[in-house]
């Protein structure tokens, strides 16, 4: 079934409108989403926005804050004290990270946290080691701070785990930090505890900062295990942990994230936040407070839902002949589609136009991933099955 590049039937599709933005992963994702939004019966397996509803008790808590006037009082730039304390409590008890409320900054989504911490951490010319493929918003944050990305590869054969050897090879005198994204977007891989500990040793040896993006931490599937690097002995002082409520509680619209680190660095970031945006919307913070301190059964329910979908998706992709690394976390499958004989960009365009299935090509997550696609699990099982059927139909027509 595999075809060489010269045999690739590119005349089938004319994705010129995508090529114009294909060099920029973020623009490519937005353009595809725009195109998808214009199709009535589109099956969206692209974006990372949970289709589930924000749990009712969280919404009701926000409504109470509106009714009693708390939502009218501007929150401090660092965030509501109760929420900072709740985040710290969660990180201490669930993750083992020795942080107090004064080491937590509340942000308007974890993406703002990422932007702030990069701005606050690096000087122009500093390098950050970034696993590839990657969520390209990292690129934007690093570029705007004048920093340089040093990409290190992860591989399907290793389920996209990050290995200390490749990290060590990438360290230079300008290296300032290592970015850890576990579970990972887009690969759904995790950094195994064994590798994480060795990377932590490298950070100590070379005096590097570890940026640990753990936004998908609650969705890890056996045999995967989540370990927060900031919980390791002596690592808290050099670790910035990034998280939020968006993915765990289906709250992407509320825009609440957090950054946890030392009180001194948090104070530094708070100054930046005061300049860049001021305090995060109070109403959203009260919702996040309920999410973290209220009943957690909803997370278990979400987990069960994503687990079922994951099984269906993996089985369906195998039936289609696609190869992928074991998705050990998050809610994605990163799959090799080279067997189709089209570039992933062309294939994603074809799927959208002919089958009304929206899937992001791997090039939305790094230049060299032209044979890969990220498929999300954020649709009900019957819709996922319908999406797989539509993909099968396209493959039967064109290969």
């Amino acid at each position: 079934m595999t075809k060489t590049a010269s045999e690739t039937p590119r005349q089938i599709v004319s994705p010129g409108e995508l090529r114009a933005v294909a060099a920029d992963g973020t623009k490519l994702r937005y353009r595809l989403m725009e195109m998808g939004s214009e199709i009535d019966d589109v099956i969206a397996l692209g974006r990372g926005d949970p289709d589930l509803k924000t749990p009712g008790h969280i919404v009701e808590a926000a409504c109470r804050a509106i009714e009693d006037g708390r939502a009218d009082l501007p929150a401090p730039a660092a965030g509501l004290k109760d929420l900072r304390d709740a985040v710290a409590h969660k990180l201490r008890t669930d993750n083992g990270i020795p942080v107090d409320g004064d080491g937590v900054l509340i942000t308007s989504g974890s993406q703002e946290g990422l932007f702030l911490l990069i701005q606050g951490l690096i000087e122009p010319g500093d390098e950050i080691i970034v696993p590839d493929p990657r969520y390209t918003s990292y690129d934007q944050a690093i570029e705007r701070a004048g920093g340089m990305m040093r990409l290190v590869p992860t591989h399907r054969q290793q389920d996209f785990d990050l290995f200390p050897e490749v990290v060590e090879e990438a360290i230079t005198p300008r290296t300032r930090a290592v970015l850890l994204v576990t579970p990972n977007n887009p690969t759904a891989g995790i950094v195994s505890p064994a590798n994480l500990k060795k990377i932590a040793e490298l950070a100590i040896e070379h005096d590097l900062v570890l940026i640990s993006d753990e936004i998908y931490e609650r969705y890890v599937y056996p045999p995967g295990k989540h370990l927060s690097v900031g919980s390791l002995p002596g690592l808290f002082e050099r670790t910035i942990t990034l998280g939020g409520v968006s993915k765990t509680y289906a709250m992407t619209g509320w825009r609440v994230g957090y950054v946890a680190s030392t009180p001194e660095f948090t104070d530094h970031l708070t100054g930046l936040k005061r300049t860049i945006s001021g305090g995060t919307a109070a109403v959203s913070q009260y919702a996040a407070l309920e999410a973290l301190s209220g009943p957690q059964q909803c997370v278990d329910d979400f987990y069960a839902t994503y687990s079922r979908r994951r099984e269906v998706m993996m089985r369906g992709l195998r039936d289609l002949g696609f190869d992928f690394g074991e998705p050990l976390g998050a809610f994605y499958v990163f799959t090799d589609v080279s067997s189709v004989g089209l570039s992933a960009l062309a294939f994603s365009y074809l799927l959208l136009k002919e089958a009304h299935v929206l899937i992001f090509p791997g090039t939305a997550f790094g230049e060299r991933w032209s044979d890969w696609m990220r498929i999300s699990l954020l649709q009900p099982v019957d819709v996922i099955e319908e999406g797989l059927d539509r993909i099968r139909g396209v493959l039967e027509r064109h290969t």
Binding site: T26, Y30, R47, D49, P50, T54, V59, A62, C63, I66, E67, G69, A71, D72, P74, A75, P76, A77, S108, G109, Q111, E112, F115, Q119, G120, L121, E123, S137, Q140, A141, R144, R176, I204, E205, D207, L208, E237, R238, A250, M251, T252, G253, W254, R255, T262, F265, H268, G271, L272, R274, T275, I276, S277, G278, G279, T280, A281, A282, V283, S284
Partner: protein, 373 residues
């Protein structure tokens, strides 16, 4: 090992705003706000709660902002003679500060900025530092082009003036637009307090002056809707080329603005009721107090401020500090180039108690001065 890496985070080039004096101080009543820090209207609350309970705000919304809110902003601008396409010439932001940051960071990167209100340079300085830009004050009174404008890449027009509450005369804005056109300057028009002008005063966007439309990014807010400060929602509008650049930064920063806040703004903007009557009552209460204490005062053009000359009490800074010690915050005139003055914002649910504390403070200071303390 060199040392804990995080402690090496350098702050020299950083662009911190000064920590607000009131932040984290329990029990202090803040009468220094730039906007209507009042309770959200019942209609806005009810509409927003309705949206939340329908789960309309659970997920990411359109990156540039809710379509209906962008359209509502465009419609308001159209009433003031400014035409923008809500599809790609309006972006809803996460509050006024984010609006200013995004505009300066993207349109004035490494540029020379000439700002129309010289004292406001300090306020914009952290934003300029973030953009690796420089800021100079501009003399707007000159008939010929001011030297600072000739040196500039970006003209920052702040109108109305958010601290002192004054709006420029149309002749001045016309002159500035002419300078911008002749010098081919990009213009950032900070009009975030335009909605606070007193009844009877009208605001004309800078972008509507000849030659300004294609080069001006307008920064606006929902400041006229009481209670929305804490909801962190504002907007920017202008030519698609300028808006597009800023929208990219906005997306990189927060993806989209909080959906609950956008629904609140949408509910508020549709409600034409204004609360200026209440604020004017409060303004008159402050004026009466100042008259009793024989302190000269000025009622600015924006709805909720009173500016008092407190030179007889030692000047703006000592009075503001003493007020803070007594549990009420007012803005020292040092923040807006008038060190002999303080600004009192007549908003907020705790205004009556704040006014009592202010009265007590000013009387004590007056008495202290009178007795030679």
């Amino acid at each position: 090992m060199v040392g804990p890496a995080l402690s090496r985070a350098r702050t020299g080039r950083m662009y911190h705003h000064t920590r607000p004096l009131v932040e984290g101080k329990d029990g202090v009543i803040d009468l220094s706000y730039d906007d209507l820090n009042d309770s959200t209207r019942e209609s806005v609350r009810a509409a927003t709660i309705g949206r939340l309970m329908h789960h309309d705000a659970d997920h990411y919304v359109r990156r540039a902002g809710l379509k209906a809110l962008c359209e509502a902003v465009a419609e308001r601008l159209a009433h003031r003679g400014m035409s923008v396409d809500p599809a790609d010439e309006v972006v809803i932001t996460g509050g006024i500060q984010e609006t200013r940051f995004a505009a300066v960071r993207e349109l004035a990167a490494e540029a020379r900025i000439a700002v129309t209100v010289p004292w406001i340079r300090d306020h914009y300085q952290p934003l300029a530092t973030a953009a690796r830009a420089t800021v100079t004050g501009l003399d707007t009174s000159l008939a010929r082009i001011a030297p600072e404008a000739k040196e500039a890449d970006v003209l920052l027009v702040v109108n109305p003036n958010p601290a002192a509450g004054r709006a420029y005369e149309p002749e001045v804005l016309d002159r500035l637009a002419d300078w911008a056109r002749r010098l081919d300057l990009t213009v950032i028009a900070d009009e975030t307090t335009a909605g606070l002008l007193r009844p009877g005063l009208s605001h004309r966007p800078f972008a509507t002056f000849p030659g300004a439309e294609d080069r001006t990014l307008t920064l606006g807010s929902f400041a006229h809707i009481p209670g929305l400060s804490a909801w962190r929602v504002a907007w920017l509008a202008g030519p698609s080329e300028l808006v597009g650049r800023v929208r990219e930064l906005k997306q990189a920063l927060t993806i989209c603005s909080p959906a609950p806040s956008q629904f609140a703004a949408l509910a508020g903007i549709a409600d034409s009721e204004r609360s200026s009557g209440l604020h004017m009552e409060r303004v008159h209460a402050v004026v009466e107090l100042l008259d009793r204490l024989a302190l000269p005062h000025l009622i600015p053009q924006t709805v909720a401020y009173v500016v008092a000359d407190v030179s007889a009490l030692g000047g703006g800074r000592p009075v503001a500090r003493t007020c803070l010690r007594n549990g009420v915050r007012v803005l020292s005139g040092n923040h807006f180039g008038c060190p002999d003055q303080i600004r009192i914002t007549c908003t907020g649910p705790e205004f009556p108690e704040g006014l009592s504390r202010l009265e007590r403070t000013l009387k004590e200071m007056r008495k202290g001065r009178g007795s030679g303390d």
